[in-house]
């Protein structure tokens, strides 16, 4: 406030303001344009993000939805006793279990060697007589696993031998591809997947309604198959995934909630709990594939648990999900106002009683949301499962968590690599649609719970 100020004060405030105002006014337009530009870039970024979501879903839906219908051939199948030439099914009587099984296996082996192709060829010849003379072409029209289906029908009920039944047989993948136009029809026959005769039959039967596009129920009722792509399904993968999700729910959720309760409410504030805190935050950001390495080294190599087992997968995914559950549970515990705990303590409850009777029940909705999101995350995880051998081809439904199994995301991984590209691209997309449907339902459930039980303090 010395002489310097006084001389400066000599400048007339009003006139200085006046000239300032002119300068500012001159730049205003440009500044507002810059403002508008910036705003549009922001809006553009969001729109781009939303467009990408739409593009991703659009492309998957466009590819995958057609795979939910599939070409079926309706044929009158005669179980010709001339072809199915087998003895009667053994009965146990007073045989020991081991001996009975041995005889049963021998009988079933006879069943396997029956010429089922002949049955299919004969059935097809009823609708296209030319099939009688072209065994190869005829058999190639039907998915090869349908032979197994006929065999199983006889195994379960040998009395059908000699009868004729109308059956919907799944057409071969190549017929499906041909009819859906997923292959260029103008290609020369040498590059086609169907022979000239099969092409003609397919079109003809489709027109006559013998071949029809039906809901592809085998997608949900069958297991994966290599030899018969048209009947490959997701059942094994879905059961495997469900088992792993159950394990995650049983292992990660209670452990995570209890860890959160301890860390948030009882842990003393010292270096060790600080370390645990840093450790959990870090674990949440460790790449999932590292958990796969852990599973391979510890569960499989050290503990000797089987490869490809849902138990191992579930445990690995549980460890991976644990930090997510702990962090979400701690956040919802922290959201319960301290006044509630203090009120409980004030009337003489022990800290443990205050926790379990008052704080925890109020935090349950938040914890549930976190748990569901964690489980959904685990459901979609692929990389760690590959390292514990789940990339193996498994054509069975796991009966127990110790059996070999596939999982939905791994099945997607396996299918996308199948050589029969023009058929499996659609199948893979369909599998993705199934996976996303489950995940989105889970997330929607989480959002619903959050809104339903959300409390504002």
């Amino acid at each position: 406030m010395s002489s310097a100020t006084e001389t400066l004060d000599g400048v007339d405030g009003a006139s200085a303001a006046r000239s300032n105002r002119d300068i500012i006014e001159r730049r205003l337009k440009a500044r507002h344009r810059a403002e508008f530009r910036f705003r549009m870039i922001g809006l553009g970024a969001i729109m781009l993000g939303v467009t990408l979501v739409a593009l991703l879903f659009g492309s998957i839906l466009a590819k995958g939805l057609p795979a939910f219908t599939q070409a079926n051939i309706t044929l009158n199948v005669t179980f010709d006793p001339q072809v199915i030439n087998i003895p009667d099914r053994p009965v146990q009587g007073d045989l020991s279990d081991a001996d009975y099984r041995e005889e049963m296996l021998a009988w079933q082996r006879r069943l396997v060697f029956v010429n089922w192709n002949r049955i299919i060829q004969d059935s097809l010849a009823k609708v296209v007589p030319a099939a009688a003379d072209n065994a190869r072409d005829a058999v190639g029209m039907v998915a090869s696993n349908e032979r197994v289906r006929l065999r199983d029908m006889v195994r379960d009920d040998p009395s059908i031998i000699g009868s004729t039944k109308e059956l919907d047989l799944v057409a071969a993948a190549n017929v499906d591809v041909w009819l859906k136009g997923n292959i260029d029809r103008s290609l020369p026959d040498s590059q086609q997947q169907l022979t000239a005769l099969q092409q003609e039959w397919s079109d003809q039967l489709y027109e006559r309604g013998v071949i029809s596009m039906d809901f592809a129920s085998e997608l949900f009722t069958n297991v994966d198959s290599r030899s018969s792509p048209a009947t490959a399904g997701l059942l094994g993968a879905m059961v495997g995934s469900i088992m792993m999700m159950l394990i995650v729910m049983v292992v990660a959720v209670p452990v995570g909630v209890m860890a959160a309760v301890y860390l948030e409410e009882f842990a003393p504030k010292n270096r060790i709990t600080d370390l645990i805190e840093v450790n959990i935050n870090n674990l949440a950001a460790v790449p999932s594939i590292v958990f796969g390495l852990l599973g391979a080294a510890v569960f499989i190599n050290l503990f000797g648990l089987p490869l490809s087992a849902p138990l191992v997968g579930g445990l690995v995914l549980s460890l991976m999900t644990l930090p997510t559950v702990i962090i979400a549970s701690r956040a919802s515990l922290r959201a319960v106002p301290p006044s509630i705990r203090q009120a409980a303590l004030g009337v003489g409850a022990s800290p443990m009683q205050a926790m379990f009777h008052h704080t925890l029940p109020l935090a349950v909705p938040g914890m549930l949301t976190g748990a569901i999101i964690g489980v959904a995350q685990a459901l979609g995880e692929t990389a760690p499962l590959l390292l514990i051998g789940m990339n193996a081809f498994v054509a069975s439904v796991p009966g127990t968590p110790m059996d070999q199994s596939s999982a939905l995301p791994v099945q997607i991984f396996l299918w996308q690599g199948n050589e029969l590209r023009n058929f499996f691209e659609a199948r893979t997309s369909a599998a993705i649609i199934v996976l996303l449907t489950v995940m989105i339902s889970l997330n929607a459930l989480a959002i619903f719970l959050r809104h339903r039980f959300e409390r504002r303090w």
């Binding site: 405030g13 500012i24 730049r27």
Partner: protein
């Protein structure tokens, strides 16, 4: 729409403010006429009219929630940044209606500066804090001119001698009182015509408060100042005119001495004698 209009009608209802003219004639800088503010559906200010004299300090006093800060924020349209806030009425400053939505707020805020309750220096160096306004408005033509603006603003805010050797240190490292003077310097750097101060000393200790009050007295020479304050002593010390707000109404306004020594309204009297507040 009609419900909103009815609400506006209700809020615009005239309220007779007791006005005591100034003994000395002063130029009017801003003439507010029937200014009302609605937050969503809640009226916050009822039809306030007041003339703000130029080159003087006007103090807004009143109990919490009386609308004095809300009214202050009308002068530089800071209420625009709040969702669902509507301002009605006219505010004439040198022929421009401040409440006209065609008026450019960027320019308005360059003309009407503001100092906030809590010192809020940007997390930048002291120099950059002051240079921020001139830079965005492009008023400095050269680096030298910018440096001159910075040093002049700091001098006017009485901070120059304390910080001239550490202009590149962060502004957040200063003490509370220094931070608030930095914020005043930051406002001065744009060379505004009016400076709004929203309880500028409420977060400061008594010594820092005294420094700021002295500064306000000096700034009055060149700027029109409006100050919102909780402290009646402060209003008495720094202002020439005082306006008393109560529950969204402007109850009484007049020369500071008059308001404090001879309030006409009972509510004003109760407030300044400490019956409530």
């Amino acid at each position: 729409m009609s419900a909103m209009e009815a609400q506006e009608e209700a809020i615009m209802e005239r309220f007779e403010t007791i006005r005591i003219p100034d003994p000395v004639a002063r130029n009017t800088k801003i003439a507010a006429k029937d200014v009302s503010v609605i937050y969503g559906s809640k009226p916050a200010l009822h039809s306030v009219s007041i003339d703000i004299p130029a080159q003087a300090v006007t103090a807004f006093i009143g109990p919490s929630g009386c609308g004095k800060s809300t009214f202050l924020r009308c002068f530089n349209r800071m209420n625009d940044t709040i969702d669902g806030c509507r301002v009605l009425g006219q505010m004439d400053m040198d022929g421009d209606d401040l409440n006209d939505h065609k008026l450019d707020v960027v320019l308005l805020r360059a003309r009407v500066g503001m100092v906030f309750q809590k010192p809020n220096p940007f997390p930048k160096s002291i120099f950059d804090n002051i240079a921020y306004g001139p830079k965005i408005h492009g008023v400095a033509r050269s680096k030298g001119e910018l440096e001159e603006i910075v040093s002049r603003s700091l001098q006017r805010a009485g901070l120059w001698d304390e910080v001239k050797d550490r202009l590149d240190e962060p502004g957040t490292g200063l003490s509370g009182g220094q931070q608030q003077r930095l914020c005043i310097a930051r406002a001065i750097a744009v060379n505004p015509e009016v400076i709004l101060m929203d309880e500028p000393c409420s977060a400061l200790d008594p010594i820092a408060t005294a420094t700021i009050e002295k500064l306000i007295q000096e700034l009055r020479e060149n700027y029109t100042i409006i100050i919102v304050t909780h402290s009646m002593a402060q209003a008495q010390r720094v202002s020439q005119r005082t306006a008393y707000f109560h529950l969204g109404y402007l109850v009484e306004e007049g020369p500071t001495e008059h308001i404090f020594n001879n309030p006409q309204e009972k509510r004003t009297k109760d407030y300044i004698t400490g019956v409530f507040g």
